[in-house]
Amino acid sequence: MLYSKEEILETIKMINLENLDIRTITLGISLLDCIDADPQNAVAKVKEKIQRTASGLLPSARHLERKYGIPIVNLRISLTPLSAIIAAPVRGMNQAEALTFCDDFAGELDRACQEMGVDLVGGYSALVHIGLTFAEEVLIHSLPAVLSSTSALCASIQVATTVSGINMDAVRTMGEIVKQISERTEKGSGCARLVVLCNAPENIPFMAGAFHGFGNPETVINIGISGPGVIKSALQSQRGLPLQDLAQEIKRRAFKITRVGELIGREMAEALHTRLGAVDLSLAPTFKVGDSVAEILEAMGIEKVGAPGSTAALALLTNAVKMGGAMATSAVGGYSGAFIPVSEDVGMVAAAASGALSLEKLEAMTSVCSVGLDMVAIPGDTTAETIAGLIADEMAIGVMNNKATGARLIPVPGARAGERVEFGGLFGSTVVMPVNPFSSRDFIRRGGTFPPPIHSIRN
């Protein structure tokens, strides 16, 4: 036979029993040619370009799903950071007029993308790691209104890079903005569509951080894969195996998972007459048993995630996934690590609910994976300064370790630590995690710039 029975059945088993899927096909679209000082023209140009460019996304994805028998869970669009597109139209407007324009623009975008069968659209973004332009300031302050009136639009704000350090004024502002969004959306769920980023890659397929960076061509296809279940099942039958052999098994599986991403990416790019930009190697969990990164760590021998050894186990996993995945694609990109979004991973939620996993341990774990304090529900009475403190810690991990990090924190109005909260869909369901009650208010209020580390000066 062309393939052994074992090979064919391994593929069938991965897809049908171990939840292997393509998490997302994300079409990046440049909007730089849509810049127009006339507000109405700008909106019309952006809508027209998205509709023209992305019309083939849904039918092509459905065809590939059938052809290869692999589920494609989400279709997404990532756009040029919108702050660059709104800069010309908001010029000369006062802040109130500019905010109204942003709200209308975002609403039009949200509707246009949903009408095309797109699940999420990223790029309501600004890169403010050094400082803010007027348009960026407007975009950031529009977030509470925009995220409470849209449902597919995702926002990301980069406030730090290793080269520039951390814009601590922006961090403080984002603490306040997160708080405002939470108060304006049910269960604070609007915060699930906003991430504060450090060292953001320009080709992320995952939300909320996806935007079409300025180094990109006109359009590009970025792929997010899944497959925690495939890794977990490989490890379950390997009790007592030394770690180097465990790593080898993870590499072997990660290679195969990533190959599927490479195949779908290449074919999708061909169908849409564009190119494959990046395959993100990250194993993305979904909120169901058997599709959890936490369960992988538990299969490795950690009783509950958060127990001593969790950071080491996660580091081993992330490293092996990268080694196996990098061999499988010519286009490694995005975050490429392992995700531990709390509310989107049943094992993470169970660990948080049982008290095994604290916010502090979670933060330590984010130093060895992607992408940070992700989908973490916190008590509704957490102050803006404390939220800013959590963001600052995560940014510092990214800046000092030269890696991408993010904070997607969800203060749940009225909720106290230990309460359950349901966000629905891919955003999952979680337990509110307790936050250290001591304050960093005076540190946050200093503002200014957190200087870049000495190892950023490499020339």
Binding site: Y3, I12, K13, K256, E262, L263
Partner: protein, 93 residues
């Protein structure tokens, strides 16, 4: 002669008389040639794997999948058909 275009069909469920005949008939009706066939047990379930050439198939890939799924329904088995390329990508370097 057209180049071959191969797909893998996997039939899973309970073994019963007429299974091979039923699937083969659908394939023949669509001018799909069976290149190879084998049977095995996957997690206590019967499974049959067919490698087929769909280059002369008169209908779309999706329509053939649909016809196979319908035949599978009446035989009480699950029938999957996937283009060969996914196996190349996953199992061949």
């Amino acid at each position: 002669m057209k180049d071959k275009e191969l797909a893998i069909i996997t039939v899973m469920g309970r073994d019963r008389p007429g299974l091979v005949a039923g699937i083969s008939r659908v394939l023949a009706d669509h001018q799909v040639n069976i290149e190879d066939i084998s049977q095995t047990i996957l997690q206590e379930m019967f499974s049959m794997i067919l490698i087929v050439d769909i280059s002369a198939c008169q209908t779309s890939f999706e329509a053939l999948q649909e016809a196979l799924a319908q035949e599978g329904n009446s035989l009480g088995v699950k029938v999957l058909m996937q283009h060969k390329k996914i196996f190349d990508f996953m199992h061949r370097i």
